[in-house]
């Protein structure tokens, strides 16, 4: 009776009001942040001709991205794409300006965490982890995958070195390179690209999988005129441009389609990989030119 009297007294009402006020303020702040983010995304999209909000980065469903790239893990419950924007971008492929489909987004996945309290009871919570990614659809198929990611702490001090070892010790200490085709790996990672990665891409991961190139990780600088995750978008687009420009010619030559299906009648190098208006031969027919279906900017998928 005493308890009932206490909970129904004027103090309880005050607590309710405070809780409601806190919830309201939290909702207002969240909503304001969401609106700012939407505005920032719109501003960023406006800077690039032909760019738009995307549900599927480069027209690829998240189910086809998950697990294919180390930077896009499945997690233990949900995973998906947030704040995706993209469109055509002119990149220098094999020394030629080539228009590629590019998308910037945040990949999220939920990691299970189990904790035990003092009485021995376990509780499960899910922590949402996010990774900044820029995805590029290359104008050719590599047919093989190459992954360049940060080396582990033990690897950095030289105790465990996995993957392919290259000429530069500084590179080997910072990056772990995985790829079934060793020849392709050495063609890709020439001395200049090793140097570029060491100086500008340490701590980030670069992955090739068939016709997709994913660059993940935080860039070194951000655009203060934008908000939230979008602040990093201009820098990651810039980093992608620089990275693709740094890929050696011999790598592109190795990827060139065979004579039978792609050799043009006059110059074997004239029509490849393509002028800006030259659509890649493998462009997905189901990739619509405009914004893709689905909820804008957020496509969670459950296991």
């Amino acid at each position: 009776m005493q308890i009932l009297a206490t909970t129904t007294g004027p103090g309880f009402g005050l607590v309710l009001v405070v809780v409601a006020a806190v919830l309201l303020v939290a909702w207002v702040l969240k909503e304001r942040h969401r609106r700012r983010l939407q505005a920032a995304l719109a501003r960023f999209v406006d800077r690039h001709e032909g760019w738009h909000r995307q549900a599927w980065p480069c027209g690829v469903q998240p189910q086809l991205l998950v697990g294919r790239f180390a930077s896009m893990p499945r997690g233990d419950r949900r995973y998906g794409v947030e704040h995706a924007v993209g469109g055509p971008l002119e990149l220098e492929v094999d020394g030629r300006p080539t228009t590629c489909q590019v998308a910037c987004f945040q990949w999220f996945h939920e990691q299970r965490r189990r904790s035990r309290n003092g009485r021995g009871a376990t509780s499960t919570t899910y922590e949402r982890r996010r990774e900044l990614v820029v995805l590029c659809q290359l104008p050719l198929h590599t047919h093989r995958s190459v992954s360049i990611g940060p080396e582990s702490i033990l690897g950095r001090i030289g105790l465990t070195r996995g993957g392919e070892q290259l000429e530069s010790d500084a590179f080997n200490r910072r990056f772990r390179v995985e790829g079934r085709d060793r020849e392709l790996v050495v063609r890709l990672l020439d001395a200049q690209l090793q140097e570029l990665l060491v100086t500008a891409y340490t701590g980030r991961s670069i992955e090739f999988s068939d016709d997709l190139l994913a660059l993940a990780g935080q860039p070194s600088h951000q655009d203060p005129s934008l908000t939230g995750v979008v602040r990093a978008y201009p820098a990651i687009v810039q980093d992608l441009t620089r990275l693709v420009r740094g890929i050696p010619h011999s790598f592109w030559r190795a990827m060139r389609p065979s004579d039978q299906d792609a050799m043009p009648p006059h110059d074997p190098y004239d029509n490849w990989p393509g002028t800006p208006d030259h659509a890649p031969p493998h462009a997905r027919p189901d990739t619509p030119p405009g914004p893709l279906p689905g909820p804008p900017g957020h496509t969670p998928w459950e296991r």
Binding site: G95, R96, Q165, E183, S250, R253, P268
Partner: protein, 188 residues
């Protein structure tokens, strides 16, 4: 613990380590030989391309006898250098001479627009560049294998095994990278 265990156990552990180290050396040498065979295969492919290239150029550039002879001679020397008794450095220099000859040959073709537009010539040039790309990649793989082997051969304690068994030094294969010189110019 009994005394014999204290004596035998370290000996067994040491023996296992020696065997493991020896087997790794053997595996590394096998890998070096495999990558070297890969280089030789690609060099052979380049040698085979040269006569066709010379014949095609000869059809258009009849006055360039000097350059054509230089390439033919360099090819003959490069083929002659592909023998087990020829030191690797000598073979590398022979390949460099062939590269230089091919560079001169391709430079000469710049003066013959009809030749440049000949489909057979363009196809041969493309094949040459692709082969040279593969040579460059194979050479780097070989040198990486040699570098890893040499690192182990000189480092403690594996140098003790290498010294005792007599694993000898291997030389790297250093040649000019011709693919960049021989690739067709890409108009910007």
């Amino acid at each position: 613990m009994e005394l014999w265990v204290l004596v035998v156990l370290p000996v067994v552990v040491l023996l296992v380590l020696v065997i493991w180290s020896y087997n790794r050396f053997v595996a590394q040498l096998a890998s070096i030989d495999a990558t070297w065979a890969n280089i030789e295969g690609e060099l052979q492919r380049r040698h085979d391309l040269v006569p066709n290239l010379v014949a095609t150029v000869q059809g258009y550039a009849t006055h360039e006898r000097g350059v054509l002879d230089q390439v033919t001679t360099a090819r003959a020397k490069a083929i002659d250098a592909v023998r087990p008794d020829v030191p690797i450095d000598q073979q590398a220099r022979a390949e460099d001479a062939l590269t230089q000859g091919l560079t001169s040959l391709l430079a000469v073709t710049e003066s013959y627009p009809q030749l440049r537009s000949d489909a057979a010539f363009r196809d041969l040039q493309r094949q040459l560049v692709e082969t040279e790309d593969r040579i460059a990649a194979a050479r780097r793989l070989y040198n990486l294998e040699v570098a890893a082997y040499e690192r182990r051969r000189r480092a403690v304690p594996s140098n003790l095994v290498a010294g005792a068994v007599g694993f000898t030094a291997r030389r790297m294969f250093e040649i000019r990278d011709p693919a960049a010189e021989h690739a067709p110019h890409v108009p910007r």
